[in-house]
């Protein structure tokens, strides 16, 4: 069953067409990854889903209901947590308060328990509970941003470049956490990444975007072995016979 279904989405930034007809499905309980270079429109897709931008055309259905044209706070209420690019924490609130704000839409009494659950996932945050978020390191801020999104009790998490600017060790840590969240809590994840290796390692299904279009989709296993993805996103290059690549050699989708 698809938790999120996007059909033929077109989004503009003013006169600039950023997304040129994107369709993608995110099955419930899976990790779907969206790959692509700079300016491919990955972030725009996420922003359109979470309601920060309204699309010109197309449909977005979450758990069967259309969420098109709703305000971002209303969409958060339906159970979509967006972790934006670049660790958007509340800089002058403490870690504890940041997490509490993550549960803003909730009225139940399990908030305290859920904060402890977040600290279980991110032990580094527990010792910093009373520190202002601005004083945290980049990796800690990223963990806080993910933890805050968890506080929403989301059905779907939109992760925008969680590995951005992190050391390889932290990237491994974050990807392990994403896998655990998916397996233990059943959180469905739509992961946007430039770090294709990490994304393909933890993802189940992947889409490749280029200049606003989806140019390739397959299971992550098969994407990993596709020559184009290897060459352009994983940096494995097949040297030609004479040490030169033939000019005719192009991506298969062009």
């Amino acid at each position: 069953m698809n938790l999120l279904e996007i059909n033929n989405l077109e989004t503009y930034y003013g006169p600039v067409m950023a997304i040129r007809g994107v369709s993608l499905n995110v099955p419930k309980g899976s990790i779907v990854t969206l790959l692509g270079g700079n300016g491919a429109g990955k972030t725009t897709v996420l922003k359109t889903i979470s309601g920060a931008i309204d699309p010109q055309k197309g449909t977005i259905a979450f758990a069967g209901d259309s969420i098109l044209g709703k305000d971002p706070d209303a969409i958060a209420l339906t159970g979509i947590a967006h972790v934006p690019e670049g660790r958007e924490v509340f800089p002058f609130l403490t870690v504890d308060e940041n997490l509490k704000m993550g549960a803003f839409t909730r009225k139940d009494n399990d908030i305290k328990a859920d904060i402890d659950a977040v600290y279980d996932y991110f032990p580094a945050l527990k010792t910093l509970a009373k520190a202002q978020a601005i004083n945290l390191s980049g990796g800690q801020q990223q963990m806080l941003a993910i933890g805050r999104a968890l506080m929403l009790n989301p059905k779907l998490m939109l992760l925008d470049e969680p590995s951005l600017g992190l050391s390889p060790r932290l990237v491994a840590e974050i990807s392990e956490i994403i896998t655990r969240l998916n397996r233990e809590r059943g959180v469905t994840v739509l992961l946007v990444e430039q770090n294709a290796r990490m994304a393909l390692d933890i993802g189940h299904y992947g889409y490749v975007m280029e200049v606003g279009r989806i140019v390739m989709e397959d299971s992550c296993e098969r994407l990993k072995s596709a020559t184009d993805v290897q060459e352009f996103y994983l940096g494995m290059k097949d040297e030609g016979v004479r040490g030169k690549r033939r000019w005719k050699q192009r991506k298969t989708w062009r």
């Binding site: 706070d73 958060a76 972790v83 934006p84 958007e88 002058f92 704000m101 993550g102 839409t105 929403l152």
Partner: protein, 289 residues
């Protein structure tokens, strides 16, 4: 004991500036708009209080409460009708809008209540506290007490309540606030309601000290200077800036030639902008674009 007397009246006047400055800062912090009608909202509050006490003849305490609530409602309605459509417009346009709003409020107040000065009768009028040879009017004491109570309430609200922390969150990072599900637009309405409510209280407190006419809102300009002196964007700074402006004014009035008292607030502002442009409490916040 002249100095003591000056300090007392400076503090009392400074509290009023501080209250209006608090309204400026609250709205600026949350919405990055500057509301130049803040002083006129105070004037409106004073007229509301006068109407409740003299025309409707409600008891004083209930009149004050009703004034604050009515002003909060006025603030929320103004935000909803005038300011919300301006989200995303250039700052200059919003600035002109609030300046124009000030004109409208003055004109409406003049039409409804007339332009001759009116007084707000208060139960504590006329009483004085004698300390040595200095005399403090109850009106001035009420200003200080009212300001202290209000500051305490504002502090508790922003520090401990869920919606207060959410308001801080929305002003620190609007995008993230949206994504965690904080209804940012409603938060803006609430900020305007609170600011206008504070202006209403300032009006109630200022009315017994000076007579009320449609032009008393111009103290808003001095309060604006106070807000900048305190470091625009800092709540304690707004109050402290107000006190500084109030005290400077009193001392300039006594020790400097006539006329200096009126301009002392702006001289203080100029000195502050040269010496420490970020204000007393600098809010070192890197704004995300």
């Amino acid at each position: 004991m002249e100095i003591f007397q000056l300090i007392i009246s400076g503090i009392s006047q400074g509290c009023l500036y501080g209250l209006i400055a608090l309204g400026f800062v609250l709205i600026y912090k949350a919405t990055e708009m500057v509301n130049f009608a803040q002083g006129d909202l105070m004037m409106l509050g004073a007229y509301f209080a006068i109407t409740f006490v003299t025309v409707l003849e409600w008891p004083f305490f209930w009149s004050v409460l009703a004034t604050i609530l009515c002003m909060a409602l006025v603030g929320a309605v103004l935000e909803r009708l005038l300011l919300r459509p301006m989200i995303g417009e250039p700052h200059f346009a919003v600035l002109m809008l609030t300046i124009g709003l000030g004109f409208v409020i003055r004109a409406v107040a003049g039409a409804v209540w007339g332009s001759e000065p009116k007084a707000l009768p208060v139960p504590y009028s006329g009483g004085v506290i004698k300390l040595g040879d200095s005399v403090i009017g109850y009106e001035n004491v009420a200003v200080v007490i009212g300001t202290v109570i209000l500051c305490l309430l504002v502090w508790i609200f922003f520090r401990f309540t869920r919606i207060g922390i959410a308001m801080q969150a929305a002003s620190q990072n609007q995008l993230a606030a949206f994504y965690v599900g904080i209804p940012v637009k409603r938060v803006y309405s609430l900020v305007w309601a609170i600011s206008a409510g504070i202006a209403g209280l300032a009006g109630v407190l200022t009315a017994p000290v000076s007579l009320v006419d449609p032009l008393i809102g111009f103290v808003g300009i001095k309060a604006f200077a106070a807000a900048i002196v305190g470091g625009f964007g800092s709540l304690p700074g707004a109050i402290l800036g107000g006190l500084l402006v109030g005290l400077t004014e009193q001392f300039a009035g006594l020790y400097l030639p006539p006329g200096f008292s009126e301009m002392s607030a702006y001289v203080l502002l100029l000195i502050m902008l040269i010496v420490r442009p970020q204000g007393i409490f600098a809010t070192m916040q890197k704004k995300k674009v």
